[in-house]
Subunit: 258 residues, 2 copies
């Protein structure tokens, strides 16, 4: 069971789109995948489950009322792909947990408890909100690795270096095993020198942590959430489906799991 | 002195790009404009002031050490355009202020103090982080109005309705004068039915709160930050400059200030 935090405090870079479509890519080839929506915006949840009826259990219950993972996990329309949905009350968790002892390790402990109880997922992907607050720290403490989607634009470099600082603190104080395993360029428009310059700069600094696969900007990816489908179900012949299929293959190679 | 929160918890929709370029548009026609960077990512600050030397005062000092506005305000390369820069330590403010009495009204009180001391800006634009935490609430409490940049994509509608809930709470409990004065579509690619559907839906629900001016996706806008310039200085003949000039005009008409 490999736990991956899909994280970047920069907003709108493709975190949710990557969590859903990489998760779906892995599920379609038979891996058992759990997606955890850790964002109070609940974009991942509304992408996969448009008909939200209140009253069902969510990430909030996992963290605050310590419900077991098996109580909050739900199937999705894709085989092998499971979801812990989010809700708006997750927004209050940062302040509610501020004074709690061990507030940063709750997700890690809940996943460990689930493992002991027999939960067996090949991969757990945690879709993080665009910040480095308590929710993001919980995800980094629980994770084996961080996967950082970026947009190849000016603010990307400054954002990654800030992320690496925080990741370093988490690694030295709370989770020694955590590593920055991948950076993925999303929303690639490639037409500007700026994009190429940023890509080269990231390659220089991070070497082969940068995935070779680049996710091109593709309107089908922006449409898929309104159809409540993954890109593979919504537009199997699109650039978006091709790019996320390639990403899935590269991901598996990097995890010696091809 | 009209204070405007440029806000949307959805990430990457054009908040910072709008704060900088609308601010610059207003400054170029002679309005005195203050930009306050309320995001720990400090994207607005690095857009206007690439050479950051640590040690200068910032938004953090305004909120935590209650330095006067006049101590933290800095000029920019554009006439009439001033900046309160951000820094990474702003990220800690949400937890540091959690137990402070009146924690949500600090910015409002600091701007009121500055007014009494003689500060005279025509417009104050507060660039908010992609969340609805304590920093965003401070901005809404201090603001006369909210300006919400959106991307015409699936997650926009759900995001706005969540924002309106929070704005309603702030209005009823802390700032009766607050109004949702404008919604601006940014990163318009217009080629997909989805974009037109979202635009129509927002028009139906919010009527003329939706600005007529639409900011088209334009690579010059993404390049301007790396040149540390506003769009007007970086690419005056671009679609980006034309759109932000049109937005500035519409903004002034809506404020009876043309
Ligand atoms: N490769 C792509 N091509 C076209 N549109 C995309 C692509 N990737 C993401 N999008 C769209 O861009 C917007 C931002 O993407 P997404 O919501 O996945 O980013 P995020 O990093 O999760 O945002 P947030 O920081 O708000 O959580 C969404 O409307 C999404 O549908
Ligand atoms: N109209 C546009 N055309 C092309 N690129 C744009 C446009 N508006 C913004 N951008 C680029 O898109 C990215 C996101 O924009 P911006 O940073 O302004 O959004 P934001 O809402 O402030 O993000 P965050 O939620 O992280 O604060 C940036 O790289 C920016 O340069
Ligand atoms: Mg997201
Ligand atoms: Mg911003």
């Amino acid at each position: 069971m490999t736990t991956i935090a899909v994280i970047n405090q920069k907003g709108g870079v493709g975190k949710t789109t990557t969590a859903v479509n990489l998760g779906a890519g892995l599920a379609r080839i038979g891996k058992k995948v759990l997606l955890i929506d850790f964002d109070p915006q609940a974009n991942l949840t509304s992408h996969l489950e448009p008909e939200t009826g209140d009253g069902r259990l969510s990430t909030y219950d996992l963290l605050r009322s310590r419900k077991a993972l098996s109580d909050v996990v739900r199937p999705t329309s894709e085989a092998n792909l499971f979801l812990v949905p989010s809700s708006a009350d997750l927004a209050g968790v940062e302040l509610e947990l501020a004074a709690e002892i061990g507030r940063e390790t709750i997700l890690r402990d809940q996943l460990a408890r689930a493992w002991v109880a027999g939960a067996r997922f090949d991969y757990v992907l945690v879709d993080c909100p665009p910040s480095l607050g308590l929710l993001a720290i919980n995800a980094l403490v629980a994770a084996d690795e961080a996967l950082v989607p970026i947009q190849a634009e000016f603010f990307a470099l400054q954002g990654i270096s800030r992320f690496v600082e925080v990741q370093g603190l988490v690694q030295s104080r709370l989770n020694g095993a955590l590593r920055l395993a991948g950076i993925v360029i999303c929303l690639w428009r490639g037409q500007a020198n700026l994009s190429r310059e940023v890509r080269e700069e990231v390659q220089n600094v991070f070497g082969d942590v940068l995935y070779e696969t680049v996710i091109r900007q593709n309107v089908k990816l922006a449409e898929a959430p309104s159809a409540a489908r993954t890109i593979f179900a919504h537009a199997p012949d699109s650039n978006g489906a091709a790019d996320y299929a390639a990403l899935t293959q590269e991901f598996l190679r990097r995890h010696d799991d091809a």
